[in-house]
Amino acid sequence: MVVRFQPITNIFDEIDSIFNPVAVPFPAIRWTNRDRRFADISVKESGEQVHVYAELPGVAKEDVNVNINEGTLVISAERKQPELKENEQWIRNEVNYGKIERTVQLPYPADVEKVSATHEQGILHIVLPKHENAKPKQISIR
């Protein structure tokens, strides 16, 4: 059984009654159940690097792909749906499974050869050094 709740904003301190639905007369209300196919990202510029962080909980490293050309970064991933065995059943499913994609327009062209990425505890962290052309240049005055 898959139960989905409609997204409603900002309810606090509610108690879920998933294990005992009879105990509470109204269903729990969630704002987190957005139908997401995008990862939440943060982009930070720091010195001569651009850092991109993407939240990809439950996604295995081998299911993450990062593609880049100079000004655009494309993160694609797949969160695989667990297969239920016989005599297992869904009580609640708020997690969205399937393909996730996110395109990030970089604030500066990146040096594609020097990009590095890690994926730890659901956070994909990509470090993109700025391309030579994007670095500030000192012009000597004669």
């Binding site: 108690i15 998933i18 005992n20 990809l56 909980p57 499913n93 997690v95 730890e120 962290h125």
Partner: protein
Amino acid sequence: MTNGTDEKKTVHTITPVVDIVETAKSYVVKLDIPGSVKEKIKASIENNTLVISTEASDYAGTDSAETAKQYRREFLLAKDIDVDTVDAQYDLGVLTVTLNKKKQFLPKQISIN
């Protein structure tokens, strides 16, 4: 930092999304808590309520001195859950809590003589 003693700090509470699967012997609860470490995640059962909470990790350095984020979600447990054998694991940014059913609630095969 976010224990409420610092009145100037605004704590935003994020409700993590949850998946729950019932198996023959247990309920498996999975919550998305990306970017944390297991030492920071608190799980407790009190008054038949499972409480999961953690400071959200500031992995991108977006928290300021005035704001912080935390994850928190509570679940009211039914009577068939054995609160003494709860297991929790954190991997890939997902917290998995396994709540075993009490023995007396497990299906039993009755042999017919």
